[in-house]
């Protein structure tokens, strides 16, 4: 039986809200069945032994999908009825609780109401007793006998709890008859789909090359089962082909949006004003949901020369959020660029960063790149503010993920190795620099745009797989606009790679308009991707493997 406290603290309307979600799912499953019918119709003329077996198998699965939809549709009415029964009872209970509290009565867990031990109050604080339950509003205040009132409320509250418990048990019994197991629609223990989903997934330290070998060794059944049951793990795993990661990460994105959306609504419906912690969390949710909507919108764009097919390679909400999105397939492109943004880059701000990748892809096409993929890599927690960017901890923390991601691009690329470039902006150059200094990056060229330093005094301090240290100067490109605010912190993480003395390939960018801080400007720091900026043209050339100016 539901206790007084459990019912008092419950939110029975949620059963009604859940009913709608189950109704939606039932409708979606039914629709998928109908869509499946359209595909199966195309096989009607297929004949032969294989055809007979395949069609029988698909028809059985189609029937199971239909049966699932029918069963799922039986769940919402139960939840709706339960909600409709419980909500008015809950309202009545709240009124009784109010009456009890106003009359200094205590309610036990089983609904028994008792007078509280008498405590003398100052005369001015004695509350005016409300009318007895059942009396019309506005009637003269009664002076109820506490024991009589307690008895009356006990009866009412226990009736409420009894009625609520009966409704709860009836609904629970009905729901138990509609589980997948009870209806015979749960997979058998030896179902290939279920057993395949138990296939061991490589650990986090497995190299992307070995992940690729493992993935290629799986049967179609194993691959599909793992995608359905462990999609969140596979979608984030370097070494899994981009097409596969994109498929599953779109589902992860939908799940995260739903989850954050629900948590956001809960915060918004809390009593106002919110605590500072709740408000900060709400702001975080709003930002991340906005970023995910921006990704949704980009994923929905019809591919064109200007906006290539996007591939969602990673999505997450930990820390500032994660978003790795490729414009163009990195596994098939001739030229692949990884764009690492800097300070304030996060899931919340990813919309504009995705646009920059599109622009660089267009610039590369203009420079005659036969096929290009430009990847926005928000795979680390970038410094959230400029003061935070004074610390190198964000760059150090990014090293493993960045290194592994580049290894993954090599592991999943089909055909001859692609020309891989890493383009950092601002603190993103520092993140790349630290990774290339402390280890070695799997890339052909590095591009540093508006860098505060890359933890290197000379090109030979940085390392690219397969590149002789003495040749590193030929594989590093850098630019800083004349009036960029970054000039104020010139040399913060080492010599500016855009200085002629660094020993790399310095390329031109538009100077920008002079600003108010020693002639430098914050706006110029973000103008490298503006139409007409020579930096953008040059980045396109570098991606395409051409010389810059």
């Amino acid at each position: 039986m539901v206790s007084f406290v459990e019912f008092r603290d419950s939110e029975p309307a949620i059963f009604g809200e859940d009913a709608q979600k189950w109704q939606d799912l039932a409708g979606q499953v039914a629709n998928r069945g109908n869509e499946l019918d359209q595909q199966l119709t195309a096989l009607a003329d297929w004949q032969g032994v294989t055809a007979d077996v395949a069609k029988a198998d698909l028809a059985a699965k189609r029937k199971k999908l239909g049966d699932a939809a029918i069963t799922l549709a039986k769940i919402p009415p139960i939840l709706t009825n339960l909600s409709q029964t419980l909500v008015p009872l809950h309202d009545q209970l709240r009124q009784d609780v109010f009456t009890a509290v106003a009359n200094e009565l205590e309610i036990e867990s089983d609904g028994t109401v008792q007078p509280t031990p008498f405590v003398a109050s100052p005369p001015e604080s004695v509350p005016t007793p409300p009318p007895l339950p059942g009396q019309p509003p506005g009637s003269a205040p009664a002076s109820p006998d506490p024991h009589q009132l307690a008895s009356q409320l006990t009866s009412q509250i226990q009736d409420i709890l009894r009625t609520a418990s009966m409704a709860d048990e009836e609904a629970a019994a009905a729901l138990r008859n509609l589980t997948a197991q009870a209806t015979g629609l749960a997979p058998a223990a030896n179902d290939p789909g279920l057993t395949a989903s138990a296939t061991a997934i490589p650990g986090p330290n497995t190299s992307p090359a070995d992940v690729r070998k493992w993935w290629d060794s799986l049967s179609a059944q194993q691959q599909e089962s793992l995608l359905f049951m462990h999609g969140d793990q596979l979608g984030a795993m370097d070494g899994i082909p981009a097409v596969v990661r994109d498929r599953v990460n779109r589902d992860v994105l939908a799940e995260l949006e739903s989850r954050l959306g629900e948590e956001k609504v809960r915060l918004e419906t809390k009593s106002q004003p919110l605590s500072d912690a709740d408000q900060a969390q709400l702001n975080d949710f709003n930002g991340k949901l906005g970023g995910m909507q921006a990704i949704d919108q980009r994923l929905a764009v019809q591919p064109s020369a200007a906006q290539q097919q996007p591939f969602l390679l990673k999505i997450g909400v930990q820390g500032g959020g994660r978003a790795v999105v490729a414009m163009g397939n990195p596994d098939t492109a001739t030229n692949v660029a990884t764009f690492v943004p800097g300070t304030s880059a996060s899931l919340a701000t990813c919309g504009g960063l995705l646009t920059r990748s599109d622009l660089m892809g267009q610039a590369a096409a203009k420079a005659n790149s036969p096929s290009t993929s430009v990847i926005t890599w928000i795979g680390y927690d970038a410094p959230p503010t400029f003061p935070d960017a004074a610390f190198d901890s964000y760059a150090r923390d990014a090293e493993p993920a960045l290194t592994r991601f580049q290894d993954g691009l090599r592991a999943t690329h089909d055909g001859p190795p692609s020309h891989n470039v890493m383009i950092g902006h601002s603190y993103g150059t520092t993140a790349i620099g630290y990774a290339a200094h402390d280890g070695s990056l799997n890339a052909n060229d590095l591009v540093f745009v508006a860098s505060p330093g890359v933890d290197a005094n000379r090109p030979a301090d940085l390392h690219l797989d397969g590149v002789d240290p003495s040749q590193m100067g030929q594989h590093i490109y850098a630019t800083t606009a004349k009036h960029d605010i970054i000039n104020v912190v010139d040399g913060w993480f080492g010599p500016n790679p855009s200085d002629a003395g660094f020993g790399d390939q310095v390329f031109t960018s538009n100077p920008g308009a002079a600003g108010s801080l020693f002639g430098d400007s914050f706006a110029v720091h973000s103008q490298y991707w503006d139409s007409g900026n020579r930096a953008l043209d040059n980045m396109g050339k570098i991606i395409a493997g051409m010389s810059t100016n």
């Binding site: 939110e11 195309a42 699965k61 019994a173 589980t179 997948a180 939908a254």
Partner: protein, 99 residues
């Protein structure tokens, strides 16, 4: 085209890809639903119905996911092997199984 076939491999491949696309949408539906289904259990602890809803959720998420995976695998099998059906029909028979 081998004897007994009235459809070509392109049709088979298209159907296979179509089946996988449908299962991707199903997966999308399940993911969005699963991410949104945490209300009743958390807010209504002590209710038998809340636990029953949670049991339904867990069971149906698994059942639909396995069914979707089975369908996707069947679609993959059609697509990947479409061009070989004419010569390897007997080998492929074993890759489909009654449920």
């Amino acid at each position: 085209m081998a004897d007994g076939y009235v459809v070509d491999s392109a049709t088979l491949r298209k159907a296979g890809d179509g089946i996988v696309a449908v299962t991707d949408e199903l997966h999308h539906d399940i993911s969005a639903w699963a991410g949104d289904q945490q209300g009743a259990t958390g807010a209504n602890q002590g209710f038998s119905s809340a636990q029953a809803v949670a049991d339904c959720e867990a069971g149906w998420e698994q059942a639909l996911s396995v069914l979707g995976a089975d369908l996707a695998a069947a679609g993959d099998t059609l697509s990947l092997n479409a061009s070989n059906y004419a010569t390897t029909e007997q080998h492929i028979v074993g890759r489909f199984r009654p449920i």
